[in-house]
């Protein structure tokens, strides 16, 4: 007699079986970019700031795989190091806006009374300001660099997370399992933070993954218009800006590579975010 066991798959295998090939590719791309940025000091072939005026605007060759820019700096190295600032910004923004958005959304969703209504209006108010405008205001206050735009972006992205969380909480609190906790006499903070919040994290995480892509593009745009990361620090947006002169002179590659990486990462992160929300949506329905 044969005995067949149907065990529920656990951990990554369960996710793996559900991810599409496209999502797998997106995951690999993101992982490769993150690793390249983290390990840049060890992996990069050149110092990203090393100027070689004898070798400017070179095309891809054996020494410089992606070529060099107008100052003869190695593009591959600059992209690897540039990833550190380009990815750091969105990471901080996403972590900050997710944490704040979750807490505010939970508070807004759980209270029937004025707290919920007032918070809801505050979110709407923030929604009406474009993130880039807030960032520029913040830069005017705190000066150029990474800090001001990150602070502004964090605030600007809070309502995206908070509104979503609020909606989820309103639906969740009427569910029998939450009501059972109430009847059992568990205190509200324990139920909300300890039990309801963890159940929302997958859905909110999917939204935050999407936000990551938008923030990355926004911060690159800020650097491009010269308000973000300042030279000589390498950054993808700043690299595109620095290559404007070369671009007009017919040299496309110095601007193309950083732009390409920005698009690549934004698309990859979007694919992952979409996949996550589809998967969660499918599971809920």
């Amino acid at each position: 007699m044969t005995l067949t066991l149907q065990l529920p798959q656990t951990g990554i295998r369960r996710y793996g079986s559900l991810l599409s090939p496209l999502a797998w590719a997106a995951l690999l791309v993101s992982a490769a970019v993150v690793l390249a940025a983290l390990l840049a000091p060890a992996l990069a072939p050149y110092d990203p700031d090393y100027v070689d005026l004898n070798n400017v605007l070179a095309g891809p060759n054996a020494q410089h795989l992606l070529g060099t820019d107008a100052l003869g700096r190695d593009l591959l190295s600059r992209i690897m190091f540039g990833g550190r600032t380009a990815l750091l910004g969105p990471t901080i923004v996403v972590l900050g806006s997710t944490a704040a958005g979750l807490l505010l959304g939970l508070a807004a969703g759980w209270s029937d009374g004025w707290t919920g209504k007032v918070l809801g209006r505050v979110f709407d108010l923030l929604f009406s300001f474009p993130a880039l405008l807030l960032a520029m205001l913040s830069i005017a206050l705190f000066g150029k660099g990474l800090f001001a735009p990150i602070l502004a972006m964090t605030i600007a992205y809070v309502p995206y997370v908070a509104r979503l969380t609020q909606g989820l909480v309103v639906a969740e609190r009427t569910r029998p399992y939450v009501q059972a906790y109430r009847v059992l006499g568990f205190r509200t903070p324990w139920v909300v933070l300890g039990r309801v919040m963890p159940n929302l994290i997958p859905t909110v995480g999917a939204q935050s993954a999407l936000n990551f892509g938008y923030v990355l593009a926004d911060l690159a745009a800020l650097s491009f218009i010269g308000l973000g990361v300042q030279p000589p620090t390498s950054d993808w947006g700043a690299m595109i800006e620095e290559s404007r002169g070369a671009l007009l002179g017919g040299y496309v590659l110095p601007a193309f590579w950083p732009a390409f990486v920005v698009v690549l990462v934004v698309v990859a992160v979007n694919v992952i975010g979409e996949e996550l929300s589809d998967r969660i949506g499918g599971k809920l329905s």
Binding site: R175, Y177, V183, G185, T188
Partner: protein
């Protein structure tokens, strides 16, 4: 003439899930009503859908499904479309899910006539109106311009039946068409289906989990289990002389009204109206003029519960029976303080409930007096928390037990309700409906309540599982001296479990007293209707069914 529906040796295998149908054979002839009975997962819906050529994607099929000679397993898309438009119609469980909410009933009914039969609009409308009248809907012309949300579930199911009949099908497939409806509404729908089927000489395949319903409607029956036909034959002989153990178990588990007062618990049958030997005792739960009103944004006031008076003595068991909108769930939610009363008094264990939302401390104290088990076992457990920990959490909260001690208590309690320790670490989704409801019961009991409210706690379960859970509740009640408040739409379940009974309608208690007395000699008209609406086998006297038919619609 070729057979209407002939399924032979149908096997359906879904890669990764396994075989769902294992050689199902059945046939439906013209003018015949056939029931397909089984519990969830038995494959009854799959079998029925096969008749329309609706197979789940990626499934591996073998066998034949022939409708008037057309094999739906191998038929082309065009042939299947023709089959669905002309020969066969289907009626589903939830009428609301099958109709576009932003289009009128008239649009819905005439669409197929205009688009497929090419009838002019005016004539289509005429035919639709006639069909609506024929399925027992008054004011059919007005109805044509109404939207689905303006209709009750029963009316909407009649509209769906009208839509199915408009195509003049030779084969009518019904997938649990009355499961979502109240019992009095169900009686009318069943009568309508039976009349139409006989008048038109249609073949009908009727899927249901309810054996009594099958007996009240169908000449022949197939009993399905795990994708196999266990038994088939004339309904009467299958019911009266079942050949297989599974059929016997199913029949035994199907609740019937017991007028001997349910369990023989003697002195328990103390009138809820205050008569009887237990009247002198202080009641555990007492309601006086208890009311709940909701004010809508439009300013309209809905009275969900209107002046309820009743008493439930400690150790007693009170059933609350009513249809949707009767206020029975509101009553349950008031008792566990998920709602606050608008008026009246609610006294539990001698202390009056304040008419305001409870404070955290008060709620914790109340938790030791009363607990609730909800209807849907798929929603009432936290999906992320392993069941052992879910129960242990309650022990830690209410008994101040340490982590290890609470886990041990949880293990003991779960074993007592029939969850083996192998399932201790399982998350709710890995458990069956019955197992989840056992866990929900354990969670509620971990708080050591004196009163346990069961809000339709067994309605979502298969009959055999329902029987087991009811048995468990009875057993626990005796062992722990629990007082039970059982809210349900099912008279049979109440008759088995409760010695006292409240019958509710539209927010009011219309009759109360000892269960045996009410069920054998109901005083109120509505109670009689409720009892008379229960499906009755075709071979039993048809007289009572007529009474039910008269009040339905």
């Amino acid at each position: 003439m070729t057979a209407l529906l002939q399924i032979e040796d149908l096997t359906l295998d879904l890669p990764g899930i396994g075989p769902l149908l294992k050689g199902v054979s059945l046939h439906v002839d013209d003018g015949e009503a056939v029931a397909l009975v089984g519990e969830s997962g038995s494959g009854k819906s799959l079998t029925t859908r096969a008749a329309l050529g609706l197979f789940p994607g990626r499934s591996r099929l073998s066998g034949t499904v022939s409708v008037r000679g057309l094999d739906t397993v191998t038929a082309s898309r065009q042939e299947l479309l023709a089959l669905r438009r002309q020969r066969a119609s289907m009626i589903f469980q939830d009428p609301r899910a099958g109709i576009n909410p932003v289009r009128t009933v008239g649009d819905f009914l005439t669409e197929t006539l205009v688009r497929w039969k090419g009838l002019p609009g005016a004539e289509s409308r005429e035919r639709a109106v006639k069909q609506l009248e024929q399925v027992g809907l008054g004011r059919a012309r007005e109805l044509m311009d109404q939207y689905p949300h303006q209709l009750s579930g029963g009316m909407l199911q009649r509209v769906m039946i009208a839509a199915a009949l408009l195509d003049s099908p030779e084969l009518l497939l019904c997938d649990e068409p009355t499961t979502a409806l109240d019992v009095t509404t169900q009686a009318g729908i069943v009568r309508l289906l039976r009349d139409e089927q006989q008048a038109r000489g249609m073949g009908m395949l009727f899927i249901t989990h309810d054996l009594n319903l099958a007996a009240s409607l169908c000449d022949r029956v197939y009993v399905l289990r795990h994708g196999e036909v266990v038994e088939n034959g004339a309904t009467r002989s299958v019911f009266l002389a079942p050949q297989r153990d599974y059929t016997r178990e199913l029949l035994a588990a199907t609740p019937t009204i017991e007028t001997d007062g349910g369990r023989p618990d003697g002195g328990d049958v103390a009138g809820a109206d205050g008569a009887g030997p237990a009247a002198s005792e202080v009641p555990l739960l007492e309601a006086a003029g208890l009311s709940k009103r909701y004010e809508l944004r439009s300013g309209e006031v809905i009275t969900a519960l209107d002046g309820a008076d009743f008493r439930l003595r400690a150790g007693g068991s009170l059933g609350v029976v009513g249809e949707s909108g009767s206020g029975k769930s509101t009553l349950a939610r008031l008792v566990v303080a998920l709602e606050t009363a608008s008026d009246g008094e609610l006294t539990l264990g001698g202390s009056a409930r304040p008419r305001r939302p409870l404070k955290a401390g008060e709620r914790k104290l109340l938790a030791k007096d009363v607990q609730i088990v909800f209807q849907d076992p798929y929603l009432s457990l936290d999906p992320r928390i392993p069941v052992g920990r879910a129960v242990a959490d309650v022990f830690r909260l209410h008994r101040k037990q340490g982590r290890r001690e609470a886990m041990q208590s949880s293990r003991d309690l779960l074993e007592r309700v029939g969850i083996t320790s192998a399932r201790f670490e399982a998350k709710p989704r890995a458990l069956s409906g019955g197992q989840r409801q056992r866990v929900a019961l354990a969670k509620a009991l971990a708080a050591r309540p004196r009163l346990l409210v069961l809000d339709e706690a067994t309605s979502a379960l298969d009959v055999s599982v329902q029987a087991q859970v009811l048995e468990l509740v009875e057993e626990l009640r005796e062992q722990l001296g629990l007082t039970i408040l059982f809210v349900t739409h099912d008279l049979a379940v109440v008759s088995r479990l409760c010695s006292e009974l409240l019958v509710m309608r539209q927010g009011r208690i219309v009759e109360q007293g000892a269960t045996a007395r009410i069920l054998s000699a109901p005083e109120h008209e509505y109670t009689r209707t409720l009892i008379g609406s229960r499906p009755r086998a075709l071979w039993e006297s048809d007289g009572v069914g007529d009474a039910a038919h008269a009040v339905a619609v």
